[in-house]
Symmetry: C2
Subunit: 409 residues, 2 copies
């Protein structure tokens, strides 16, 4: 991508109401644009980051048999009345609207109801299970307060996976497969060492659910942890009986702030029973299907990664998340000529700063945008038939021969 | 993809209220699921078709300098009041909703307003133009009637491109580039020979706009055409002055039904003026930006392609749109063993019917699903070390050696 052709310009200031550091950088570096509180657009660089995150998640979910679909946002109230989740007193984050032709509709805050109902058409027998269905879809939640940039929004991109089983054992088996997949996902997202499976309240049908909490100061949740015993729990379950279950004492726990980047949940019959998702078993008896659900907030994860890896100069993307691997910044006429040659055929890998700017301006933008490697070509580097590559994370620079650099792209 | 692992089963019947042939086939073959009138889910095969269509459109728009973004669906009324498109009396297809925190929001039926407003942050000078921004995004339109399956829905996937220019000449130049890109897109979608740029009413700021109309009997529009003079016009502009402009007489025109699969529009100052998108020109004078907008209904195009190419047995996807190129249908134990070997490593190209079904059932599903090539491996074909490949479109079969088939994948 050529910066001279891009409509993006880095900005001196972010909106005053953005308190999260990452949100300020994401806006100033041209990754996102704030429409209003809790509502953002994804600009070309931001959309590439979103697609990179989705790519990692998709890859790991396909490995555990996930089948990708895309469900509608508009929701028929009748399904949600069956599970008692339509009433605003019960679920207080609905956006609701009206059909011209008459009748209320909702904007999906999640998709258990329509997915469960849709599968009634296809799942009839124990032979049709197990199965797992997921999507990357835009969710709408009417949050009273939206803050922390794209970490808590009213419209966001979520990966939601739902699994369906003939028995509790099979649900447990798959739940564990998802735990492993999630561990791989957070590792690949660069968050593995600060993201922990966390005990949280389980709701009606199981004692606990699991959240994935990334320890960062800007996180909205308070969690307690004991590293030796590998226990992390949300403050909402900091009770004597829970501590006893987990085999830790209150004074063995440390407190920290964390951002929830995923959750997994054994739903069992919570939705399949009221919606009537049933199968005939080996003995031709009718049984209710066991369900699990598993979420990852894709746009929130982007915010958390941005927050975790930024420094005082800007964003610092991990290589497999970054919109481009290289920021190519030629200086002077000769540098520009060679840069053009290098760029051609590598448009997908290189963010090419071919603008007529001073070196300092290019370097500042490279740092703000957080591209992993800044590649400078100037008369000075050309004198050694080289480019200067600077690692955004470490700040270290080295001269690399042009041939070697070309190969490394 | 293995059909034994897929939750999709072909269905005997489609919902009774589906009148379009293609909608019935798309539902029965497991491409889409109807949530309610005008609201559909995309199941694994359907999502692949959508992504294939998007891939073609993206490729052609990138060639003409389009920059991909993703705008929010939730809309701030203030922007739309400036252009007088918030009032339900003026724009009657809004879905509106309320923020918990207070205030009305809309669900975007299109994105001229937010795109124009967003660009005010980035576009200041004539040097920032021209530019073109596009997205694939879910649009919401509160249609009084929804019909023809995914050809007219209340929630749909649209590609919307917006271009910005310093002068009318430059808008004209880019408009023509888009015309060429659209011609290539409809060709690659397999609709080139029945899709025509069509004169339609232009609204306030230009006499005409252009629609792209695909001639199919199930289309909602009536158009008039003269092949010799290469003139097609929507019935809404069938007036004496228009006929004179286009140099045709009423009795030289034939009438037909058509589905609108795209539109392009010279907006000029329609949105940039009320929203204040201005630049300073070469002489440092402040000028209003010229705009164009260009839409393609991605999900509608999927419906139109399905409608155009189906026969009485089911769907008949063009090869570059089809979710898979091959439908691999082994018969018997030996056939299954060889099919497994062929399938491995080709999971993306082959829809593998590894289910324990009778050959007739597999063949019927292959035809209903419309996969371009059905590949049968049986004892009979193995006796000649071959597979039997049947072209879905022509129905012609030929024996091809296993080695040759493997290479062709």
């Amino acid at each position: 991508m050529r910066l001279s052709n891009s409509f993006i310009k880095t900005l001196r200031d972010a909106p005053k109401d953005e308190t999260a550091k990452s949100a300020g950088f994401l806006i100033r570096a041209g990754y996102i644009y704030k429409e209003m509180a809790g509502v953002y657009d994804y600009l070309p660089l931001g959309l590439k980051v979103i697609e990179n995150i989705k790519g990692i998640v998709r890859d790991e979910l396909n490995k555990i048999g996930g089948q990708e679909v895309l469900m509608a946002a508009l929701q028929n109230p009748e399904l949600w009345k069956k599970t008692d989740r339509w009433d605003d007193q019960k679920v207080d984050i609905w956006f609701k609207t009206e059909l011209s032709a008459g009748g209320e509709l909702g904007l999906a805050p999640t998709h258990e109801e329509p997915i469960t109902n849709m599968l009634k058409t296809y799942v009839k027998s124990y032979k049709d299970l197990p199965l797992a269905v997921y999507q990357f879809q835009t969710k709408f939640r009417n949050e009273l307060r939206a803050k922390s940039g794209i970490m808590r929004t009213r419209e966001f991109i979520m990966k939601d996976l739902y699994s369906f089983h003939t028995s509790e054992e099979d649900l447990d088996r798959y739940y564990h497969e998802v735990e492993n997949a999630y561990a791989r996902i957070y590792d690949r997202l660069g968050l593995g060492d600060i993201t922990f499976e966390t005990f949280a309240s389980g709701g009606v049908f199981s004692k606990y659910s699991h959240e994935y909490q990334t320890f960062i100061p800007v996180g909205e949740d308070t969690v307690y942890y004991n590293k030796d015993k590998s226990v992390v729990l949300n403050e909402e379950v900091l009770q004597d009986d829970v501590l006893e279950d987990l085999g830790v004492k209150r004074d063995e726990l440390e407190e920290t702030r964390a951002a929830e980047v995923g959750n997994i949940f054994k739903l069992k019959f919570k939705y399949s029973e009221p919606l009537g998702l049933k199968i005939s078993d080996e003995n031709n008896e009718i049984k209710t299907v066991y369900m699990g659900c598993y979420g990852i907030g894709i746009s929130r994860v982007m915010g958390v990664i941005a927050e975790k890896f930024c420094d005082d100069k800007g964003l610092v993307w991990p290589e497999n998340i970054a919109p481009f691997k290289f920021y190519l910044a030629p200086i002077g006429e000769n540098g520009s000529k060679i840069a053009e040659e290098i760029y051609l055929g590598n448009e997908d890998k290189i963010l090419f700063d071919d603008r007529a700017l001073r070196p300092g301006e290019k370097f500042a933008d490279a740092e703000l945008m957080g591209i992993p490697f800044r590649v400078v070509i100037s008369d000075k580097t050309l004198a050694e038939n080289s480019v200067e590559i600077t690692n955004r994370k470490t700040g270290e620079s080295e001269l690399v021969s042009i041939e070697e650099f070309k190969k490394s792209i």
